[in-house]
């Protein structure tokens, strides 16, 4: 019955593309139209400043996102690990990431998730840590980044970006950098 179609390149082209676009459009074009929260910023979300954007570009350039995710998933253990002093972190929601371009959700956690790291560690901690992570965290496998720490422009920019992470939701009981 299908032998005619089976020998036709035009049928191959048309059929393969039709099936592709059916699935492709429903899963990529439709979702942002249905779920408005994908494009609407969270109430506490501020656009990045110039220095924060510069820091973000460094985070992208150095491939930090290959080892650090930025998403507190709906799993209990995620909310506890992203938490602070016994308070669980809220889960990540799409409206917190509206200004993220490129997105930095990540796929692999060789190091800890960073979605709520903003405000937890001060500049001095980051300076020591970036110079050699094992000085502060024995057993860490994070590479050292001396060329960033030694750069008077890049280091403050990167820290400024890191301090923004997860700040769209106000949930921590303490002031910044309190241990």
């Amino acid at each position: 019955m299908f032998s005619k179609a089976d020998n036709s390149a035009a049928w191959a082209v048309g059929g393969a593309l039709a099936l592709f676009f059916l699935g492709g459009l429903i899963t990529t074009v439709v979702p942002p139209l249905v779920d408005k929260s994908w494009g609407r910023p969270a109430p506490g979300l501020k656009p990045y400043t110039e220095i924060q954007l510069k820091g973000r570009a460094i985070y992208v350039r150095e491939g930090c996102w290959y080892c650090h995710t930025q998403q507190t998933r709906t799993l209990v253990s995620d909310t506890k690990r992203s938490g602070w002093r016994g308070v669980d972190s809220p889960i990540s929601t799409p409206d917190e990431f509206v200004y993220d371009k490129p997105h930095m959700f990540g796929t692999k956690r060789t190091g800890p998730d960073l979605s709520r790291v903003g405000g937890k560690y001060d500049t001095q901690w980051h300076r020591t840590h970036f110079r050699n992570p094992r000085d502060l965290v024995p057993g860490s496998v994070m590479p050292p980044f001396p060329w960033i720490v030694n750069d008077p422009v890049e280091f403050p920019a990167l820290v400024a970006y890191i301090q923004t992470l997860g700040r769209a939701k106000d949930w921590r009981p303490d002031h910044d950098y309190e241990k």
């Binding site: 592709f20 990529t28 491939g63 995710t69 993220d100 490129p102």
Partner: protein
Amino acid sequence: MPDNNAAAATGARPAEAGPVAHPDTTAKWFLISAICYFFIVGIIAITIAAKFCWPELLGTVPYLSYGRLRPLHVNGMLFGWLLAADMGLAYYIVPRLCGVKLWSEKLGIATAALWNVIILGAVFALMGGYNQGLEYAELPLPLDILVVIAWIMFGINIFGTIMTRRYQQMYVSLWYIMGCILWTAFVYLTGNFATEFTSGVNQANLNWMYVHNAVGLIFTPIGLGIAYYFIPKSSETPLYSHRLSMVGFWALSFVYVWTGAHHMIHGPISQWLQTIAITFSLMLLIPVWAVVYNFFATMKGQWHQLRDNVPLKFLMSGVVFYLLTCFQGPMHSLRSVSAIVSKTDWIPGHAHMAVLGCFSFFAVAGIYYVAPRLWRTQLHSDALANWSFWFIIMGGLGFFVTLWLGGFWQGWQWNNPAIPFIDTVKALQPIWLVRFFSGVMIFLGIVMFAYNIMATVVGRKAYVQ
């Protein structure tokens, strides 16, 4: 076999070359450059594996840091080695299945040259930190545009050959290669250009659609097209069923594209979209089983050939890895399994089994099969080819199995928040050490393979028909 349409139509056997003399210059250039990148990027692969064990290694050189070498490893292996090898084999297969010469050998050589420009450009861009920040789409925009141009040149040549074919019947390899060219065009545009106009979750969704389908609709169809050609060829056995191969093709073209969101199970993306992705991920078992059953049924009564047929060894172990990796994929899209394995070292174990264990095995088998035929000689050493198989598969198994065990263990630890994160890192140290030595074994196998092919090409002695 003479030009015999009736036999080709009923036997579903890849048609023979017939009287056409194929120059194959394009195929040769693609395969040689692919093998070079396989070797060069292999060095980068073991370097980044070593960095997990010795994090200070090359630590003060920005260009050689983990974050820059990892994308070079991924892009180099995917586009420099595997896709180039697959394209080279397509340039070999398609004219033979059509019974005509390649549509334009000049266009093909230009495509090979452009492809090398792209890969060399990628090396400089990625080591220099010009990274777009999207997985598998790291290359900067100018290189993306060149990739599109090269792909169009490849598509024109392949479709031009198919349009002028002398055999009416289209063997399944042609279907898969045509599907690959069409889908890749749109998948690549989505992942590298549509993402430019979006941000946040919307962009991530497009990115995962691309990442998933880079494997599912680029490497899977062209890899299966190659396996469908070389399994019957190297075992000299007709394919079990043409009809079943068509079921697999159409099922693949329907279900693969829906599954991108399974990369964000439990993450900040709509639950209904996650559920769609999970449903279609499970349906992937249909095309996978259709393909694997067809290959196993083809080998029925022929398994003894595996004793001394190296291409067939690579092909059939690739089929087993294909079955395993495509069973893992649907399983860890399930919410319960994803909660354990997602983001762990299980994932690189899974990804390497797909791209190395399955599709690279198909490509290596194809090259072992075609190299003596392209250069009209005999393979330099069958024994060395056999050693390369055993090194790559033993190293590969060491790599996959330790990362699954380690990743699962890591996932259990993460799900117990009483364990500090750094302790879950320390726990993986022995796993990473085994992974490094497995990687060295794989690399030695690659060296044997590359040397064997190069020696076949350069030092060819016996000329055979």
